[in-house]
């Protein structure tokens, strides 16, 4: 087991290196740079001398290979450099946004699990009944609806409903306060994006839970349990559920990692100052250092989450042994 863990941890490095090469090259394929955008992005006169000064300062005029070497050397030293747009440390830029993205990811995962697991089980247990059809319709609707669209609907709905009821339109706060500073403000801002993303996320997990449960419920040992006269509740909860959880855990893990950096549009809809919004801004501003670091962060999160999911397999299914 320990050798497996060490091997998996060592695999992180080539994965990160591969991602670094790809993102470095892809970013530089886009014409233009942060300096041209910064000094002339609003259509005014952009002094070529000033642009050159900026490019020199940011080392954009260095040969690409030198830029890559500097980037990797900084990465090895855990120095992610400075944002090309704000000149703030990249670690600072990420640190002020990471807690909020993490909180949403946790809240959305919580919403998803409390919806998906019971609904998936009920749907499987009551296969081809009205209950099953209803759960399937709800989950298919969740997959079909992009969470950012649902977010827009939620905001508009809140505005319209509150205005109709109280005469004063209300919408969630548009700037973040940590939960330990102002829990009411924090939750009234983040509950809505957590619901919007959690619903879509739960739909995927519901369908996965249902199909995994159906497979397990057809297994011989379940039939044996029924033959022995065990009640259905015990069969489902004690014997079937744990075995059905393997694919569900995989889906939840991947979705959690996605939420940490992939809420690109949803964060904009709710004006959340999170990692996803930072991602969009860094790309549109051609902020290479920040984009590279964000990609590396997301890759790292994916690798870690996948690793944890793999470890969880062994706990869920004792037959799985890593060596």
């Amino acid at each position: 087991m320990y050798s497996y863990i060490v091997k998996r941890m060592l695999m992180v490095f080539p994965t990160l290196f591969g991602a670094a090469v790809v993102v470095f090259l892809l970013l530089r394929l886009i014409p233009g740079d942060v300096c041209m955008l910064k000094f002339g992005g609003e259509g005014g006169y952009a002094d070529p001398e000033q642009i050159k000064q900026c490019q020199d300062m940011l080392k954009l005029t260095d040969p690409k290979i030198k830029q890559f070497y500097d980037y990797m050397a900084g990465f090895v030293r855990f120095d992610l450099g400075k944002s090309m747009w704000t000149q703030q440390d990249v670690t600072h830029e990420i640190a002020i946004r990471f807690p909020m993205s993490l909180q949403i990811a946790i809240m959305a995962t919580f919403v998803s699990v409390i919806i998906a697991v019971p609904l998936g089980i009920i749907s499987a247990a009551k296969q081809n009944t009205l209950v099953d059809y209803f759960v399937r319709a709800i989950s298919i609707a969740g997959i079909a609806m992009p969470s950012f669209w649902l977010g827009i609907v939620i905001i508009l709905g809140l505005l319209i409903v509150t205005q109709a009821w109280t005469g004063v339109p209300w919408m969630p706060p548009i700037f973040y306060k940590p939960i330990w500073v102002d829990p009411m403000h924090n939750l009234s801002q983040l509950i809505w994006p957590a619901l919007a993303t959690g619903y879509r996320y739960s739909s995927v997990a519901t369908r996965m839970t249902r199909s995994a449960m159906l497979d397990v419920l057809r297994e011989d040992y379940v039939r044996t349990a029924r033959a022995k006269g065990l009640i259905e509740k015990v069969i489902v909860n004690k014997h079937a559920l744990k075995n059905a959880m393997l694919p569900v855990v995989t889906v939840i893990g991947i979705e959690f990692a996605f939420l940490m950096g992939g809420l690109v549009v949803t964060e904009q809809v709710f004006n959340l100052n999170g990692v996803g919004k930072l991602f969009v801004e860094s790309v549109t501003q051609a902020d290479y250092t920040l984009t590279q670091s964000l990609v590396m962060l997301v890759v790292f999160i994916y690798v870690v989450i996948n690793f944890l999911v793999d470890l969880m397999y062994a706990w869920l299914d004792p037959r799985i042994r890593y060596s």
Binding site: I30, P31, G32, D33, M36, L37, K38, F39, G40, G41, E42, G43, G44, Y45, A46, D47, P48, Q50, Q53, C54, W85, T86, Q87, Q88, H92, E93, I96, R97, I152, I155, L156, L158, L159, Q163, T166, G167, V168, P169, W170, M171, P173, I174, F175, Y176, Q268, V269, F270, N271, N273, K277, L278, E281, T284, Q285, A286
Partner: protein, 545 residues
């Protein structure tokens, strides 16, 4: 549908009228409160001398003072400047318009307590006008006429010019010319202000959370006595227009200073009625259609002329102003400025401004035929921004099609768009943009000079350069005006080097309890917030906390 549009129109008119009526009454300002502003762009740095974005101006400008500024009580006038850190009226040029002497206020202090003297203003303008090697200054080119800046004493600042210049005073009044403390520049260097703030403006810096908000609090020792009225302000970053709009509707923000499209204004007015006030103004920004003269057949003036002749600016104004932030047809000068050419003269003298669009398009077809370019096919480069780029671009395609041209539109995101326009020059005809802060006609029209760094039409014309140089040195508006007309005719008619589309139109709907702020012809102007106040009773009535 028509009925709904009419109702909305009446509601908007009503809100605008209500605003005019309420400002006419001019209630006494109240003290206190926090103003929540939503800002649609990011802050690259705090240094006004190098930045050009409203994303920096809106949250940061209230921390700083200027030597002179637009009149905050009359910002609609493009020629009304008043002293901020100087006293009395804005000085007139002496010695044949080559010397400007400013008397500086006494008793002004920076937020750190350092007294402000003429030496600070000199150090500021030295940094802007003659930055040391390696120090950037975005507005250096506006001050080419400055020969020297001297301070005979702590209360006097003298600008000596190489020649009289009509662009000098408006250039000094630009909102980016934040006055810095000489002590800070001497102690911390010229880049310190990129990440630090120490001004003498109406508000002092409290905090900035990147990507989230900037907060400022009232500066008790502000030099305009009795101001500011607000206790504080919070500038909330909100890149999406829909968020800014809903934030005002939902009471999370009180105002947005850049401007909304007509539909957003109508939605707000429809939802909130008299809780919203609407201020509207012509905007000192315009989109151009810029042909690349280095690409055939756009090296042929007949083809370029056909492009501008095909555009029906009058009907464009009528219809586009319902869906986009454009409205006013005009020449190369901001239409509301006294130096601008009246429409009747444009109609009489400039191709593409005639009253009969059918005749114009017939002439365009004839010119294309003469140039051997009937059914001309080309690609129009546009920027991937809805308001107003993509809307105006799509409209232009239709206009050119009506003159028999076949045009494809290529829309690129901002970074590759500017790379094509500025660096690679790999376009046939492109959308281009001229947007300024202070209305400074002579400086603003430098965009059309072939030698200007931001003219992307790629051509040379000695006559245009000569007219411009003569205009720069003309002392009075009476001398400048005929030269400006000649210059405009050369650009838009004779060379047809670029085509003007429609001037932008600024629409600022805001909560009606926000008082004192008046719209200016630019989203960069009137942002000191020292005259803004909140009507607490009205705010309570609206149920906004």
């Amino acid at each position: 549908m028509k009925g709904l549009a009419q109702k909305l129109g009446i509601a908007v008119l009503g809100a605008t009228f209500a605003y005019s009526a309420s400002t006419a009454k001019a209630a006494a300002p109240e003290y206190g409160g926090n103003l929540n502003i939503v800002v649609g762009s990011k802050i690259p740095s705090y240094d006004g001398h190098i930045e050009s974005t409203f994303g920096m101006i809106h949250p940061i400008r209230p921390f700083y003072s200027l030597l002179i500024r637009e009149n905050p009580d009359n910002p609609a006038s493009p020629t009304d400047f008043v002293c901020d850190l100087c006293v009395g009226d804005v000085p007139k040029g002496t010695e044949g318009g080559t010397k400007y002497t400013f008397k500086i206020r006494t008793g002004v202090k920076f937020h750190d307590g350092t007294p402000l003297t003429s030496a600070d203003i000199k150090a500021t303008f030295d940094k802007i006008v003659n930055p040391p090697e390696g120090v950037a200054s975005s507005r250096k080119a506006y001050f080419k006429m400055v020969e020297s800046i001297t301070t005979p004493d702590a209360e006097t600042l003298v600008f000596k010019l190489k020649h009289p210049s009509g662009t000098f005073i408006p250039s000094v009044a630009m909102p980016f010319n934040f006055v810095y403390s000489k002590k800070d520049l001497d102690t911390h260097g010229f880049k310190w202000h990129q990440k630090n703030i120490n001004g003498s403006g109406a508000f002092s810096f409290v905090e900035h959370v990147q990507g989230s908000h900037v907060k400022g609090k009232k500066y008790a020792s502000y030099h305009h006595k009795g101001r500011p009225y607000l206790d504080s302000y919070t500038a909330l970053a909100a890149p999406k227009m829909s968020v800014r709009l809903q934030a005002i509707r939902g009471g999370r923000a009180d105002i947005e200073f850049r401007g909304f499209p007509p539909k957003a204004r109508d939605d707000l007015v429809k939802a909130l009625g008299d809780k919203i006030k609407v201020q509207e103004s012509d905007w000192n920004c315009v989109l151009l259609a810029t042909p690349n003269h280095e690409v055939k057949p756009f090296d042929d003036p007949r083809v370029r002329r056909a492009l501008t002749l095909s555009i029906d600016r009058m009907s464009g104004s009528k219809y586009l102003s319902n869906i986009a932030i454009v409205k006013t047809p005009g020449g190369i000068v901001f239409p509301s400025h006294p130096m601008a050419t009246p429409m009747s003269e444009l109609q009489a003298n400039i191709a593409g401004y005639g009253k009969d669009i059918n005749a114009s398009r017939a002439e365009a077809k004839k010119l294309l035929q003469e140039a051997g370019q009937s059914g001309l096919k080309f690609t129009f480069l546009n920027r991937g921004v809805d308001q107003p780029y993509k809307i105006v671009g799509t409209w232009l395609l239709g206009q050119w099609k009506k003159a028999g041209m076949k045009v494809d539109q290529v829309v690129k995101p901002t970074t590759p768009f500017y790379a094509s326009l500025r660096k690679k020059g790999d376009f046939d005809v492109s959308v281009d943009f001229n947007c300024q802060s202070i209305v400074n006609p002579l400086a603003d029209v430098s965009k059309f000079l072939p030698s200007a760094g931001n003219n992307y039409a790629n051509f040379e014309d000695a006559e245009l350069e000569n007219i411009y140089n003569a205009m720069l040195k003309a002392e009075t508006q009476d001398e400048q005006k005929p030269l400006l007309r000649k210059y405009e005719k050369r650009v838009l008619n004779d060379l047809a080097s670029q085509a003007i589309t429609l001037w932008w139109y600024k629409i600022n709907p805001h909560r009606s309890y926000v008082k004192g702020w008046k719209i200016a012809p630019s989203h960069y102007l009137n942002q000191s917030l020292d005259n803004v106040w909140i009507d607490a009773a009205e705010k309570k009535r609206q149920g906004v906390n």
